[in-house]
């Protein structure tokens, strides 16, 4: 028996998204008009506007998408199509701090996989999940253009370079405890919503945010220092050529530390003869 007020799906279309409260709407509308004015064609403002509505609620809600559609003269379907294409737009409420561990090849090999696994254990969450206190959303991310600082962790899209499992667990502990956390390159952390506002094109208002962490990271300067005659390296170790030892026994392919699959579906009956569903039917069968 169904309890009263419990939502029952009868195949009815979703009701329209609720509107923003009047004062929120007025504030966002003023910002949105400023964004739209930057572009010769108003639709170009859609990506920044989605960042803007994300700065209000921490994710792109149906209300936010309806707001964008209305201001740009688009359908909500058109806005939804765009919002779902880009990975930086969240589809549901998430944590104040998005901790992204790079697990693209180079960072993964250099330790990103180990860091990601340690953080999953430490926080007790999986990929794209949020801690119960709503502080940290953990996810693995793709190459963030900082390979010379590998392994890299991004928190709210600020750089935390040359991380280890230990430094990364300290980092999330500090975030959860509310201690001030400063990136290797970037400004002292603000919340995800505040970050989204910068992405919408509104400069960070905090004094010192632009200057924070100085001119360039150490790795960015290494060639310059060598060119100036400052020694930075050690011995030259390009050599010796020849085959690598390959007689080691097969390493246990433990999914936690090795397998590349962090999220996407892995098993299909077609790819795995041992799958209980059996191999896929032959073509034409």
């Amino acid at each position: 028996m169904t309890a009263p007020n419990q939502e029952v799906s009868l195949g009815m279309p979703q009701l329209p998204a609720p509107a923003y409260p009047a004062e929120v709407r007025a504030r966002l509308e003023a910002d949105a008009k400023e964004v739209i004015a930057r572009y010769p064609g108003s639709r170009s403002a859609l990506l920044p506007l989605l960042h803007l509505v994300q700065s209000e609620e921490g994710y792109v809600s149906r209300t936010g998408m309806a707001f964008c559609a209305e201001l740009l003269g688009l359908t909500t379907a058109e806005v939804t199509a765009v919002a779902t294409f880009y990975t930086m737009y969240r589809r549901r409420p998430s944590g104040d701090y998005q901790v992204g561990v790079c697990t693209n090849t180079l960072c993964a090999v250099m330790g990103g996989d180990a860091i990601f696994d340690r953080l999953k254990d430490h926080l007790g969450v999986g990929n794209d999940e949020t801690t119960e206190d709503g502080k940290v959303t953990l996810e693995h991310i793709e190459c963030n253009a900082a390979c010379d600082f590998a392994p890299v962790v991004m928190v709210n899209w600020e750089f935390f370079d040359n991380q280890t499992p230990e430094s990364a667990t300290r980092l999330v502990d500090d975030l959860i405890a509310g201690r001030t956390v400063e990136p290797t390159r970037g400004a002292p952390l603000c919340t995800y919503k505040e970050t989204a506002r910068i992405l919408a094109g509104f400069p960070d208002p905090r004094p010192g945010a632009v200057e924070a962490t100085g001119g360039a990271g150490a790795a960015s300067l290494i060639g310059l220092k060598l060119a100036k005659g400052e020694a930075v390296g050690q011995a030259r170790v390009v050599g010796p050529r020849g085959a690598a030892p390959r007689d080691t026994p097969p390493h246990d392919p433990s999914p936690t530390e090795h397998l590349s699959s962090h999220d996407a579906p892995q098993q299909t009956s077609a790819s795995d003869p041992a799958n209980p569903a059996g191999p896929a039917a032959e073509e034409g069968e």
């Binding site: 930057r38 010769p40 064609g41 639709r43 170009s44 990506l47 960042h51 880009y86 990975t87 930086m88 697990t103 090849t105 180079l106 090999v109 250099m110 330790g111 991310i141 190459c143 253009a145 390979c147 590998a150 899209w157 600020e158 040359n162 991380q163 280890t164 430094s167 956390v181 970037g186 910068i198 992405l199 094109g201 400069p203 960070d204 632009v210 100085g214 001119g215 360039a216 790795a219 960015s220 300067l221 060639g223 310059l224 060598l226 060119a227 020694a231 170790v237 390009v238 690598a244 390959r246 080691t248 097969p250 390493h251 530390e257 090795h258 397998l259 590349s260 699959s261 299909t268 790819s271």
Partner: protein, 457 residues
Amino acid sequence: MTLAAEIDRDGTSPEKLLSPVLSAFWDEPEPWTLETYRRHDGYEGLRKALAMSPDDLIAYVKDSGLRGRGGAGFPTGMKWQFIPQGDGKPHYLVVNADESEPGTCKDIPLLFANPHSLIEGIVIACYAIRSSHAFIYLRGEVVPVLRRLHEAVREAYEAGYLGANILGSGLDLELTVHAGAGAYICGEETALLDSLEGRRGQPRLRPPFPAVAGLYACPTVVNNVESIASVPAILNRGKDWFKSMGSEKSPGFTLYSLSGHVAGPGQYEAPLGITLRQLLDMSGGMRAGHRLKFWTPGGSSTPMFTDEHLDVPLDYEGVGAAGSMLGTKALQCFDETTCVVRAVTRWTEFYAHESCGKCTPCREGTYWLVQLLRDIEAGKGEMADLDKLNDIADNINGKSFCALGDGAASPIFSSLKYFREEYEQHVTGKGCPFDPARSTLWADDTDDTNAHRGVNA
């Protein structure tokens, strides 16, 4: 004896081999400011450019031989020349700052430390192509860089390098910084334009090319950050100075990004044509006790090389002749602890994730490559899978809508070419013979050094 002196015995001192131009003052306290930039001849190239006619300026940049630094190596001046003049339509310059190719990490440090070189280059380019509105499409995931771009653009407007009647020349220019939202495909120039128009970032059919029908169907130049940022120095110091570096067909300086299992990962600005051996020799080589196994010359989409290719000149022709592409000069180096199947699987997962879904060969092909590779990596593959990998890659390569498909096929083809034996080991040994723990940054640390790693508070 210093390291520099030791290396100099071979006539290969870093002082001679490197040529910092864009990176020349990154070690100053506040290199991103207009004040620092001006102290280093900032906006002097613009003054010289404004003294020329736009057509002469295009010819000058073309004569310099500057080629696109975003991967394809197309001559920058020629791209500008393609813009039809007197057509009555607005013209646009869009700077591609969507740096996302795995391994590529040059534009982001460049913009973090020296954003004004890009802004000056933008003003020069817009004067040449008669554009009064330019855009910087920056990937969204780099907020520290976005902050500095916001600030640099503000400074440039305030100083009269942007806005109305720039330096009294009559040139008006608006510059809009636009943050993307996380999609590798938007680095493809037509997908970038669709994204900038507020759509899903999917590549367009060409022709028409952006030079004819780009942003808002108007003539548009799309250039990489480093290409545009290189223009002011060419104007200020002369095309002959520029051509004195590199080779005849690949002149000039560029940023090489060394990463992976090397002793000195980082940015190395050098004339085109330097070799990986020279870069490794000057920077301490591979990490102590290990040797180079495979590397990419220009990001994961460029076919991988091995230690046979250490002496390949890293310019457009040299790398092309050796069977790969210069790409973004992202030199990702992996040592003998790295499993090539694991590396290729991860890159392939990336391409499958980032495939925009528009065309079938790429959307379906990358998906099935991932399924096969995961099985092989986990020791569940069969020998026939190796040929199937090759076959699927062959059905993606050259048959996709844009270069993402070709990029996805490159690591498959090249790894099977150089390391087929290692794939076979995964099949016959029913597992991976490598221990991933040995590949990590801290694998060879003693307890003592490990305690000092990890820079955040």
